[in-house]
Assembly symmetry: C2
């Protein structure tokens, strides 16, 4: 087994606008949004350095961000029109094209791990709603009281949105892409979706090829932003194809985001890593919280 490749990771904590009500983005390098993605990237890179797989690394990074109430995924997810959390997640292994996803799940602490179980222990790719919860129980993932996932900040935002004429767009989807020492790539993404969404709304995050894609022959990609626009372009698959046609991760990310804006007037961001080369990212929103490994194995982070 070849172990010639330098491990690489990139993590995002969502693309969006810097809201006045967002203290998590303030404080320079110690802003909670930056601390979280940096920590997730460091843990994922350490796992890769020990010889762990890209698949395990992206699951770990996304789990850490799901448990961080700063982000719109797992604990801290936005609420739908009915005031409830509905969580979406997906994961894909570029070595085998195996993938798993869940949508509209209310009672699981770590949606990305349930997606991993769908991939590993079912004949299916995507499970939605109560059926996904029933599968979680069948594979030993305990029920989580949905109220535990709702932070006071998100409840307050929902109360404000309910009395406002226009709902705020969600911000803070999380995702990770990684390359391991064997040169395999993987990607994972997790979200609470858009604030005030209709119950049952499924965005790009749990859709293979839209929010997440990974293929060793191409690249690993995780998207964030306006899900309905990302779906129209199957943006993760398109971005991976661009790497397959010879673009660097950075150039592919830039071209994918250009297309998102030009073709469907979509806002969002993308992180990319190929089987060789450095991780790349691009966004057309004012900010995209992110952390990534550089050529020296250090973790950098930026808003």
């Amino acid at each position: 087994m070849s172990t010639d490749h330098q491990p690489a990771v990139a993590v995002h904590g969502g693309a969006g606008h810097l809201g006045a009500d967002d203290p998590a983005s303030s404080g320079g390098p110690s802003a909670p949004r930056l601390v979280g993605v940096r920590h997730a990237a460091e843990e994922a890179l350490a796992l890769l350095a020990r010889g762990g797989s890209a698949l395990d690394a992206v699951e770990l990074a996304v789990r850490i961000l799901e448990d961080d109430p700063t982000y719109n995924a797992g604990t801290g997810a936005v609420l739908n029109e009915a005031g409830e959390v509905e969580l979406d997640a997906s994961i894909m292994d570029g070595a085998t094209l195996a993938c798993g996803a869940i949508a509209s799940v209310r009672d699981v602490q770590n949606p990305v791990t349930l997606a991993r179980r769908v991939m590993d222990r079912s004949a299916h790719v995507l499970l939605a709603g109560p059926g996904a919860s029933a599968f979680a129980r069948a594979v030993g993932i305990p029920a989580c009281d949905p109220a535990r996932l709702v932070t006071p900040a998100q409840r307050a935002r929902w109360e404000a949105a309910r009395s406002a004429s226009r709902a705020p767009v969600g911000h803070g989807t999380v995702g990770a892409v990684a390359r391991d020492r064997q040169g395999h790539v993987a990607a994972a993404t997790s979200t609470g979706g858009t604030s005030m969404k209709l119950p049952g709304r499924v965005g790009d995050t749990p859709l293979v090829g839209c929010g997440t894609y990974a293929d060793d022959a191409l690249a690993a990609v995780s998207c964030t932003g306006h899900g309905e626009r990302i779906i129209q372009l199957t943006l993760a698959r398109h971005c991976a194809d661009l790497v397959g046609r010879g673009l660097t991760a950075t150039a592919a990310a830039a071209e994918a985001i250009r297309l998102l804006g030009d073709r469907v007037k979509g806002e969002g961001g993308v992180i990319v890593v190929g089987p060789t080369g450095a991780p790349g990212f691009a966004h057309n929103t004012p900010i995209m919280t992110r952390a990534w490994s550089d050529a020296k194995g250090a973790i950098l982070a930026a808003l």
Copy 2:
């Protein structure tokens, strides 16, 4: 407005194996499976000839097949592990990239029309489960008793599968692609999914880029077959891309199906129409029920 293009349509009624328990496939040209797809294609082509849009044509063709108990979509859908119908559908307009989809819906007679309403009357692309049913009621689509969608033949198959060691794979997903006189393309797909699926399982059919894709710059595509394998390759988008790179619809279909078999050992079929040229199809299953328009405006049908 240019009306230089010859209308074109292709319809499928599923790719699969010719079961011994499938009288619908027997009887030569009068086999129920053939009669249904021929009728759907004729009605869609007549609509196009009157100047109707590709989008309306694919919705009409799929509605006709949903109401035909011969196929695994709408009335006549297969049953999941719990003995219930759960319907998936999607539709996409190549002129605008607008798309809509529904998943795991139990109480709607015509899932493709609910998908169209999601596209036309919501800010979302995909609604799943009870949320999709609530949206249906909000836009005036009446509830349909799920028991009305279950045919005696499907109930008998479910009873047999429940007592067998191995579940049969579903067969009879329906789909349509069309090009209108303006040269716009559209695609739609509808299914009951795989027999004995886990409740909440979502296949390729309602996933934009997997079961369905349409872009005037590329082509319109509808897939059928082993959904989990189709998802791994985002097959509809990939096939449309092949047309965008210059392949004919027939060549693109053949290459997409070759990839499905070679890369992920998947079985299935695909129908394709580009903004110019003849419709194409391919499958690697023993049969794929289909009907299509030829250069003279006649409808042909084959198993």
